[in-house]
Symmetry: C2
Subunit: 225 residues, 2 copies
């Protein structure tokens, strides 16, 4: 990267970290568990989030922010769950930053929420450096993408807390090799937690909800200490 | 985007355009047809390029440059075709730029080549603003990614000459809707050419090679005028 861009980007990152710290404090005060989703375009973030909202809304207070360069398709699609959803359209910007999240969440009573989901722009590179104040960063990898993505895009996997392998119903048709994927994930981050799901078949979804509930319990325990 | 980043990025883009113009002149002088491939991570750039090199090398003089953040997997995989292949590893940079291409191609006798392929980093956002001096920019969209990607990532589709829909062998399993995809592609660029291929089954590959040969013929006609 040209040296001047590196310099300016570092200043921007510092500013992002300040806003992210403020957001994290606000989320902690409100007691809301914040989960961000990041992946390639089309790895299934919106499908997983849609099913998550649909299944949680009957018993949990949840909301979502969704990022895209253009269109409000995702927000419209996700509002079918009944949960409040706001679209962040970034124009030409390739990632969400903490300020966009703060602005988009303004006016929501965070204290009334148990979960807030943040779906990033589809991009395995740029979102990795932007802290959004989340408790759990989830990176998705679909079985059709190739098992070596974690090695090729190491930063986003190394900075995530949980990897979710998606579209498991297509695993056989795509010739997906789970051992290869596991090796590649461990290469990027040896202690990275891994779940396997198919939104379509329902496979692994119970583990996903267990993991979300555990994240919320951990957060409450941290706050109460 | 913060105003200072926009400002610095514009200066960088201007510089990229200067280098891209120099590259385009060098490619024209050499008479080599340059084709770049861009897509989401895992849409099948390397699979398509591998098959393309494998089928062209017996009769055509071809070479390739492949970009990734990390690893030289793609270059190693592609060299099996017998074609000269160089890996560009970008570190944390989310796209190739003209200077990286110029540096990587240095020392190659371009005049001895008929085709040079450039595989970009997997990213539907950032590569769109960087001219690489190519004759044909090809954007890939796999049937498993969701038909609305062109609307969500409009710039990369609007700046491409040809869209190739990949993994057609998975279309039925993925529930791919071709009419939806066509509508979304036309939305991003009404006159965008579209091909459908499956490297695995061979579907559409003849059209792909026809299109490559046409691009080379067009270029030669332009040079000779």
């Amino acid at each position: 990267m040209p040296p001047r861009i590196v310099e300016v980007r570092q200043a921007v990152l510092k500013k992002n970290d300040l806003v992210a710290r403020r957001l994290r404090r606000a989320f902690a005060d409100a007691g809301v568990c914040v989960v961000s989703l990041v992946s390639s375009p089309g790895a299934g973030k919106t499908a997983l989030l849609g099913e998550t909202l649909r299944r949680l809304t009957p018993t949990r207070r949840v909301a979502a922010l969704v990022g895209d360069l253009a269109t409000d398709h995702d927000a419209v699609r996700l509002r079918a769950s009944g949960a409040p959803v706001r679209q962040i359209t970034t124009g030409t910007v390739c990632h969400l930053d903490a300020e966009m999240v703060e602005r988009a969440a303004a006016g929501w009573d965070l204290g009334s929420l148990e979960f807030l989901f943040i779906e990033n722009v589809g991009n395995l590179v740029c979102p990795s450096s932007y802290d959004l104040g989340e408790d759990l960063r989830v990176v998705l990898l679909s079985v059709t993408e190739g098992e070596d993505k974690p090695e090729k895009y190491p930063t986003i996997f190394a900075t995530s807390d949980l990897a979710v392998i998606t579209k498991m119903d297509l695993a056989a048709a795509a010739g997906y090799d789970d051992a290869l994927a596991r090796r590649s994930l461990a290469d990027a981050r040896p202690d990275l937690e891994v779940l396997r799901v198919s939104v379509r078949s329902g496979l692994g979804m119970a583990d996903w909800f267990d993991r979300l509930n555990a994240a919320r319990a951990e957060k409450r325990a941290r706050i109460e200490v």
